[in-house]
Subunit: 210 residues, 2 copies
Amino acid sequence: MSGSKGGESRGYHHGNLREALMKAALELIAERGPSGATFAEAARRAGVSPAAPYRHFRDREELLAAVAAAGFERFAEALLKGWDRGRPRPAEAFERMGRAYLDFARTHAADYVAMFESGIAVEGNAALQQASQRAFGVLREAAEAVVADMPGPVRPPALMVALHTWALAHGVASLFGRADAARRKVPMSPEDLLEAAFLVYLRGLGAPQA
Amino acid sequence: MSGSKGGESRGYHHGNLREALMKAALELIAERGPSGATFAEAARRAGVSPAAPYRHFRDREELLAAVAAAGFERFAEALLKGWDRGRPRPAEAFERMGRAYLDFARTHAADYVAMFESGIAVEGNAALQQASQRAFGVLREAAEAVVADMPGPVRPPALMVALHTWALAHGVASLFGRADAARRKVPMSPEDLLEAAFLVYLRGLGAPQA
DNA sequence: CCGCTCATGTGAAAAGGGCTTACATCACAG
DNA sequence: CTGTGATGTAAGCCCTTTTCACATGAGCGG
């Protein structure tokens, strides 16, 4: 009797065990942290025997890598939507993308943990590395547009701007932006904190004032 | 050193088990990540039975909290040393403190993991919270001095500057500054990346140019 | 329709390791 | 010398991982 979530067939074969395991792993990460995502428990939640997962993932690490890769895909989409091709102006869209970043880290906390705090090596999995680079590509594209929109004679390298943006957003999300118990309390919302940081940073670059 | 390092001739009692456990936990974090710091293995490395640690720590979490608290103490010292009371100038000292931050995250990687990625709740332990706040106090003190040194009529709130600094440094350290396998490769050193970010940020604040 | 085939899931069990309860030992004060 | 609390031990319990032979049924060619 597998969990009848959508009225699927629940005979001998699960039908979509791979995705069910990934979903269970996400829930486990949310409940118990990255190390709590155990192979056996994921199988239990999917309603299959402890040996079944081995038909879909070589080991626990491969499961986590798949979860992280899926997370990066969703992450890239979220950033892309926030950026919205830089409309109406790059600087404005940039801040909106920052909010999308924080929003993702909060509403998809388990994905974010899998992506950045599960201790998996990004280089180990081709699909994971590709997904990760696709997400960073959005940041980089946004940075390019922001830099290109700047007036000054000397424009900062877009790659550096993208890296700074990533570090800033990741730092704010990690330290202050989690619903987690590890969240530090500060007298500002993470969104406001990040927005203010972007404003200061962009001004320091010589960007046009909003 | 109070610990008898070469004293294999320990009798029934260890003599300094508490510190030995904390040291072992640090090594385990360095070798296997935060979840690898298991209670039993720490005991094994200290040369005692798996139940002995319970005489010194209520559970695994309390051990990790103690390790993290000790890490924050060392961290605060490192930042304080880097800041060096803002000499010769606040802006210069500020960057030096940033390098001290990255240096600590690298040379004391296990401490840093215990402090920020072990999933412990800072609020749960009074000593831990105190140590954490002491470390942040250094950041805040430095931010105060930097802001006070600024000329403009409108000075940014020092707390915000401190939080931005922390987020930036933590972001750079987490994403690019680890010797870990999870480190992302970028065409700049973490130190240069952070220094550049500081320069841009301080310029955005209206700080005097170096 | 039939029957083969293989991907997928089962059940059991070994191996390994961490956690914890009852008991043993030591240090020290009176 | 002896009682007592602090400290460490031994052993059992439970969970996870992993592998093996075996069961199921969906899909395919005929």
